[in-house]
């Protein structure tokens, strides 16, 4: 039984789906953030897999940039969450619905 790239890709798709469903069902903004991290990691995994399958280093370069952007995103996102939570302790994503039409 040889592990092919397809195995990794299937694993990546499962991880992405779990992350996506988690994003949709969880209400705690922090956990939603973690689900986004799961999805990003799923994508990273598939990029690394493709890099190996194609013998091309650019896939890894993309992962590198995704890591950096994820770090930036987490910094700003957590700052926003902290700003909200300070004034609305225990607020969930559903409570922030001021833009309701």
């Amino acid at each position: 039984m040889v592990v092919t790239g397809t195995w990794y890709l299937v694993l990546s798709a499962m991880l992405f789906t779990i992350g996506g469903v988690g994003l949709l069902v969880r209400r705690n903004p922090l956990v939603m953030f973690m689900c986004i991290e799961l999805m990003l990691n799923a994508v990273n995994l598939s990029f690394v897999t493709f890099a190996r399958m194609l013998g091309d280093v650019d896939g890894q370069a993309v992962v590198f940039f995704v890591l950096v952007v994820a770090a930036a995103e987490v910094v700003v996102g957590l700052a926003i969450i902290v700003a909200i939570m300070r004034r609305r302790p225990r607020a969930t994503a559903d409570d922030l619905a001021l833009l309701k039409g």
């Binding site: 789906t17 996506g20 069902v25 690394v48 399958m53 013998g55």
Partner: protein, 194 residues
């Protein structure tokens, strides 16, 4: 050997992911996330992406998850969530159906393999012939992608400044002087729930 590593890694990853989604406590979710991230790092190593594996451990597990835990402690560790209720009608079944549909689509596309999905011929076989190693990665980042690198540097700076501004602003506003009564009501209800 690789089969073994893959199976263990995949088990850890999926278990961690399910832990993130299913655990009511945010702290527990953060700890589960570490498992997933380590599993990913292991699979990176399995695919000869050693540099990325190191970065994955240092940046993700070492910095980002710690940041998450930091925020959790800042806001109170007891932020648990009642998973048995769902305020939005049909959100949960719709999410599961949509998620499975998406997964199915990806599987279908994967089974199409190198055949045309987008109309353009795909390639699953090596195109460059070079083995991705750290030297090649470094050369690629600092030559081909040097502008993207500079852009990410700028992005990080902006993110730092933005985070500082965001947090500082919250301090300058008087918490009693709340301009959003709807938010206030919502949080009160939430408090009663919790």
């Amino acid at each position: 050997m690789e089969t073994f590593v893959f199976l263990v890694g995949a088990a850890v990853i999926l278990a961690g992911a399910l832990g993130v989604v299913l655990s009511a406590s945010a702290t527990r979710a953060a700890l589960s996330l570490i498992g997933t991230l380590f599993g990913i790092a292991v699979l990176f190593v399995a695919q000869e992406a050693h540099f990325l594996a190191a970065v994955q451990v240092i940046v993700y597990a070492g910095a980002i998850v710690v940041l998450f835990l930091f925020v959790l402690m800042l806001l109170g560790v007891d932020t648990t969530e009642d998973l048995s209720i769902e305020p939005i009608t049909a959100q949960r079944p719709a999410a599961i159906v949509a998620g499975l549909a998406f997964f199915g689509m990806v599987m279908l596309a994967l089974s199409a393999g190198a055949d045309s999905v987008t109309g353009m011929p795909g390639a699953f076989d090596p195109v460059a012939g070079t083995v991705p190693d750290i030297v090649a990665l470094g050369r690629s980042i600092f030559t081909t992608h040097v502008f993207a690198l500079e852009a990410t540097a700028l992005l990080l700076t902006i993110a730092v400044v933005g985070a500082v501004v965001l947090v500082r602003k919250a301090e300058t506003i008087d918490p009693d002087d709340d301009i959003s009564p709807q938010l206030q009501d919502a949080s009160t209800e939430d408090g009663e729930e919790a």
